[in-house]
Symmetry: C2
Subunit: 321 residues, 2 copies
Amino acid sequence: MTSPLARRVLSGERNAVARAIRLLDDREPAGAEVLRELWSAAAGARVVGVTGPPGAGKSTLVDCLIEAFRARGERVGVAAVDPSSPFTGGAILGDRIRMQRHAADDGVFIRSLATRGHLGGLSASTLDVLAVLAAAGFRTLILETVGVGQDEVEVNRVADSVLLVVAPGAGDAVQTLKAGVMEIAHVFAVNKADQPGADQVARDIEQLLAYREHGPGRADPGAAAGWIPPVVSSVAVEGRGIPELLEALDRHAGWLRSSGEERRRHRERARVAIVEQLRGRLDDALDARLPGRLDEAAARVADGASDPHAEAEALWAELSS
Amino acid sequence: MTSPLARRVLSGERNAVARAIRLLDDREPAGAEVLRELWSAAAGARVVGVTGPPGAGKSTLVDCLIEAFRARGERVGVAAVDPSSPFTGGAILGDRIRMQRHAADDGVFIRSLATRGHLGGLSASTLDVLAVLAAAGFRTLILETVGVGQDEVEVNRVADSVLLVVAPGAGDAVQTLKAGVMEIAHVFAVNKADQPGADQVARDIEQLLAYREHGPGRADPGAAAGWIPPVVSSVAVEGRGIPELLEALDRHAGWLRSSGEERRRHRERARVAIVEQLRGRLDDALDARLPGRLDEAAARVADGASDPHAEAEALWAELSS
């Protein structure tokens, strides 16, 4: 027996989608209940992660991808992880503009996700939001993150394919790549390819990739071998390079299936989701069963009267008994 | 009764410090035991966070700060959070060079921290490592992170003062600032101030700061009011601006004490440490008490036969009973 809200989400009603996501964001029990009814319908959707440093032109490029997927008749959901600056009231200007641009298109659903206040990477609800969108029939999902850092490593866990966007002049591109994000990418876009230095950036990436092939280690030792990330030049503001990017992403999707890597990634994604949920339950249990105790423990540790290990041990002993 | 290892750490023996950190990294129970003996000696050390986008010249600037602190006779510990690229075998080239430079100086201890494989932000052991260094007499601690993203928000929780380093040409500086990191900074360094565009970057920051003063929200509503982050121009490769940066950081340290903010931040830091430890215990309990169960649950979720909420609930029910 499906609840009215789940039924409305499954039939693609936008209001219902927004409401389900809000319930999950607010960690209302009703959100988890709805999600439970949606989960099997969500399976099998495609998640493309798009990441890269600020200023690389990610938003414009995502815009082009939305249009390209739409032109093939695909319904597109976008979750933009937004570091929620108080300056912008929690939404980056580009997202607002983009939302307006696609506002009339029923085949596009864009949602900004806050990460503020969340200790540790991607918002716990990212996966939930993607599941709601998938269940509502948005079967091509784009997960966009701003920045370079831990978030990007987690995008790799959540997405099927990761597109890393760099541009000449947007940070030292090669330094960016070295800072641990290069190994998470399945496709590279050298955007703003009409600007000076773009060829050099592309060459640097190719060189680093060649080094990786023969280098000391892989980011994800469990990953299937055999995929060499293509490097595509693009000028997103003019729509140049977009068909090539799409082709590269599709090729990766095909490889994921044929190599068995898709199944492995989906399991890893599920694992992350369960652990995130478990952590939420740990936080809830602390609040509900031991109210105030964490604050007291923190005060003792801050005063040098105790240490985090001892306090955690004591709290854990109570929670797990 | 203090253990031999703790005693050696407390007397500042470098080998013992390295060994204690290794034990903590490997999550050996012996590490937690040693930490317990060191914690009270660690209290009261100063932690300066240094962050900013790749290419801003952070490493060079940190180098200058080390020298400046050393010139005042302070012993300096550095923890560099390193996204552990497989290309470099886990240490960024700059760190290697830096370590060699200070290798002969017994008053400096530099340690790179891996974040790879850790789900969620700063390595759980960052705080532990800082505590070991503090107990060993490195009372001025620098926590350096690479990148722009969630890590930086967490630096704000761990450090007393956060120095945000930007530079003209290193990413779109203003976009970087808007991407959620600006509000975590207590002091701004506009590095590479001899390059074109530096004045504009400084003006942009001042403008954003003025907006923040009168703007819609603060990143950390609990923080004491009254600190207006100074913006300092520097050319780290020439040592220019370093005395001014030091003065700004010292001024912030004085304000922390006089405003009571220091105590609040130390409690928040302890809180984070305890929660991190609790999460570690959750992971350990999953492994030890329910071996294989997380993998089975992940497979069910990946196949669409179940959802993360239901699986987490079942696992949590067993762990907490």
